[in-house]
Amino acid sequence: MYQQIIEIIAIIFEMNASELSDESNITNVEQWNSMNHMKLILTLEEEFNLSINDDNAIELLSVSDICKFIEERK
């Protein structure tokens, strides 16, 4: 699942997956801007068949937060 999330982020942010790690977050990934974040949330909802509300979406600002969130809901 971690690798799947990394690949999703890489595609949306138009970057190499090798540039991402579980330490990647909105403050250390230049491409992680507000518009890409919204695209990411929509894609995560589709890929994992989840509904992510606004308050959750605003907290999912790192790879580790996203992995933990999805793991808890699988």
């Binding site: 507000s34 518009m35 606004d54 600002l61």
Partner: protein, 181 residues
């Protein structure tokens, strides 16, 4: 007055800057979707009067956001209270070619720097619709803290949504700003 950010410039807006393009922004649903000005129809004269209302004021400032010579949006500091040191800010990115291009981060950073370091203000209080994720993310990235939620404050596409209140102190800005200035 001119402020220079990493990507864009903020310049005091004058009535000469009220172009047909600018007036069009005020009537474009996607531009004003999360702004309370969406309930008003704007003529050029009304836009000119709005710009004029900022002349020689100490409790509000209106800047145009520019990419070199191209006017792409507006940024305001308002509700400035010199007694309590508080203020709010607003953004309108009218040119949709610049959506997703870092305008909000850059413009907000310049406004914070101006408010905290030149005006010596103490604390920002501002809000966003709860479903306005882009703005909430920008505010979080700049170090703002979510302080409160006002239930069912706004209407968005026929549904009531909450307003989320964010704050940022001068001290917090000094700690965060090196990433943005």
């Amino acid at each position: 007055m001119e402020l220079n950010g990493k990507l864009y410039q903020l310049k005091t807006l004058c009535i000469e800057d009220v172009s047909d393009n600018y007036v069009q922004w005020l009537s474009t649903p996607e531009v004003v979707e999360f702004l309370e000005i969406k309930y008003q129809t704007w003529t050029k004269q009304e836009a000119i009067e709005y710009v004029e209302s900022f002349t020689d004021q100490q409790n509000k400032y209106l800047f145009g956001i520019y990419d070199e010579e191209l006017h792409i949006g507006n940024a305001t500091l308002y509700d400035i209270n010199l007694h309590t040191g508080t203020f709010n800010l607003g953004l309108l990115i009218g040119d949709n070619n610049y959506w997703g291009k870092g305008v909000a981060n850059d413009a907000c950073a310049q406004l914070f720097e101006f408010a905290f370091n030149q005006l010596k203000l103490r604390k920002f209080f501002g809000g966003a619709y709860s479903n306005q994720l882009a703005s909430r993310i920008v505010l979080k990235q700049l170090g703002c803290i979510e302080e409160a939620k006002l239930k069912d404050k706004f209407m968005h596409k026929g549904k009531l949504v909450d307003q989320v209140i964010y704050s940022l102190t001068n001290e917090q800005w000094q700690q965060n700003k090196n990433n943005y200035i």
